[in-house]
């Protein structure tokens, strides 16, 4: 009798050990997945015009490159105070030993030349400390206004040098701000520069989404109804795309911009997901449920749409197989979120591997990632764990960063986060609320 009990207890203890071992192993695997950051030095760029202005421009542009590389999550910037020889290198003759002492993997040098009045050349060179050779060298020419973009382009090339895949900093971010007192659409560079007011209706403007690098879809109340518009952010030319009575909201641009998904109401119906042509024509209904279906996002191959529905009684993220047609008895959407009573704002990564979304955890909202790389074995990671709100995630064009809004400072600002380093970086810093960011495609491919 006693012996039997002893055996049973032993089994329980052993089982407990095995379980805790497995758990420890899981944690180890997760930690080892985070890539080690490359240590890089970016000394102040040299300007050939030895003026205060030239010095300031060299400081600004090298600082911008450092910011981009830090935000990418792949680089650790060596503080300038640590540099052993702060001055510029002579004739590309780097003091390799000095950089090795700092454990630097790369040094990036820049040289700015004013070719003629208002016309500049920026030469950027990345030296690999390991091989003691230049690994990347680029020369850009253009106006003063294009200098920051040259730096973004080189940052993208530097990310490619390290990871094999181009970065996404040469792009734009659109968002909603109530800085004028009413919600209007704005656009800016990913570092917060070149702020551009897109709408100025004095009414409500919501949910901007890029069709390409210069056109955004958004919902506007110009006609006292939430209608969908498409607007060129530079010419301000605006087209009415969808104007069903009731909601025409949460646009999502499909693969290659050939289709548009939208939540809207047909006459006498409730809110469902539709697929339309980019100009709003030929709406096809995808979901049909008396609950609200909203916030669609495309898998990059166009095979699936994920969306938010409260058909279970609370907002949850679902996925529907578009190859099986619209929602039917034989094509029921699959529920992707099983934890939490408020899961919204799904955003599929450009490589299709991740779905980011926003979940209420306790009293605040955090960002989560579903990883589809294991097929049906989906795994989830929590990206943010703060007591304030992180919301509205949208992917960078290279699919390795998210832009989102957070009320860390009381009001909402725009932040970016690398899904690898998981370090949030603040982009906007206004006293108003900046929300609903959307990241444009890369301007590099577009050439515009």
């Amino acid at each position: 009798m006693f012996k039997k009990h002893f055996v049973a207890m032993l089994i329980i203890i052993l089982a407990g050990l095995v379980t805790s071992q497995v758990r420890a192993q899981d944690e180890f695997v997760v930690i080892s997945k985070a890539p080690k950051k490359a240590r890089v030095a970016v000394p102040s760029f040299r300007a050939d015009f030895q003026t205060e202005e030239g010095f300031g421009m060299g400081e600004e542009l090298s600082g911008l490159l450092a910011t981009d590389l830090t935000r990418s999550g792949f680089f650790e910037l060596i503080p300038r105070q640590a540099f052993l020889k702060p001055g510029p290198a002579v004739e590309d003759q780097e003091d390799w030993q000095a950089w090795m002492l700092l454990n630097a993997q790369a040094v990036i040098r820049g040289e700015l030349t004013e070719l003629s009045q208002g016309n500049y050349q920026l030469v950027l060179k990345l030296f690999d400390v390991g091989t003691q050779k230049m690994a990347l060298g680029k020369s850009y020419k253009g106006s003063k206004q294009s200098l920051r973009r040259m730096v973004h382009r080189f940052a993208d090339e530097t990310v490619e040098w390290l990871t094999g895949k181009r970065g996404g900093f040469e792009s734009r971010i659109a968002f909603v701000s109530n800085k004028s007192g009413r919600k209007e659409i704005y656009a800016m560079d990913p570092d917060g520069f070149n702020l551009l007011q897109v709408t100025s209706t004095g009414k409500l403007n919501l949910s901007p989404v890029f069709l390409d690098s210069s056109q955004v879809y958004f919902t506007g109340y110009d006609r006292m109804n939430p209608d969908l518009y498409l607007m060129n952010i530079f010419s301000k030319e605006k087209k009415l795309i969808s104007s069903q009575p009731g909601l025409n909201v949460s646009p999502a641009v499909g693969p290659s911009g050939k289709k548009l998904a939208l939540a809207m109401e047909s006459p006498g119906e409730n809110l469902d997901i539709y697929i339309l042509n980019p100009d709003g024509s030929h709406p096809l209904r995808v979901t049909s449920h008396p609950a609200a279906d909203i916030q669609p996002t495309w898998s990059p191959d166009g095979h699936y749409l994920a969306f938010v529905s409260d058909r279970s009684g609370s907002p949850q993220v679902y996925m529907i197989d578009l190859y099986q047609g619209a929602e039917s008895a034989g094509n029921k959407p699959i529920r992707l979120t099983q934890t939490g009573s408020y899961n919204v704002s799904p955003a599929w990564s450009p490589d299709g591997r991740y779905l980011s979304y926003c979940r209420r955890t306790g009293g605040s909202f955090d960002l989560f990632l579903i990883d589809f790389s294991g097929g049906d074995q989906r795994t989830e990671t929590q990206l943010t764990t703060t007591r304030y709100n992180e919301e509205d995630p949208a992917w960078s064009p290279d699919g390795r960063m998210l832009v989102y809004s957070a009320n860390k400072n009381g009001n909402y600002d725009i932040f970016v986060i690398s899904i690898f380093s998981k370090e949030p970086m603040q982009v906007t810093n206004l006293p108003s609320d900046e929300t609903q960011p959307s990241w444009s495609p890369s301007l590099y491919e577009k050439g515009g």
Binding site: K203, Y221, S345, R360
Partner: protein, 236 residues
Amino acid sequence: MAKRILVTVFMALTLVFVASCGKNAQKAIDAAQAAINDAKAAGAEQYAPQEYKSAEDYLGKARDQYKAKSFDPAKASAISAKDQAELAKKRALERKAAEDASRISSQPTGGYNASSLEGGAQDDSKAILKDVRFDYDRSDLGEESKSTLVNNAKWLEQNPDAKVTIEGHCDERGSTEYNLALGERRAKSVRDYLVSLGIDHGRLGIISYGESLPLDPGHSEAAWAKNRRAHFAFTK
């Protein structure tokens, strides 16, 4: 001969005089008729019945006197008719304006039942049609909300020309888009209840502003409770 001419001239003058007397009386009668028509158009029959009747009586008397060729008294009566008609018109317009004013004053003044988008979100303490409150992430109506809507329905019944837009609003928590859906559902829930109370569906528009037009910009439970509402705006 001279005497004969004189008599003829005298007779002719007399004829002219008498004829002109008749003509003046007729003119006065026509003017009185026009004034009475004006008064009638101004609603004097309804709003100034005594004055209007008096004007008609005077005019009738003037016509009788004219027929009896009593031109001077006919003219005097016609002038009185015209005076009475003008008085009737004046009083009718005054009374009608006063009545309109009282009707308008029972309509919302200021921004209390204005559109939240155009008039700005305002506290509804002075509004004719009161806001309805909701629980977090809910669009169903509690007992308090229903009793508010019963009162709103009564007013809408008594003012059959009034058309309203029901605005659905949410607190700031959660996604902008999902809150648009929630606001839409709150507005529909209010509309459906008013229709069940007998209000014509066609008089009740709906619009969702989600979390974007809060009544209280604060971030407390109290502010959120105020912001989860359906607001009534009179449709122009």
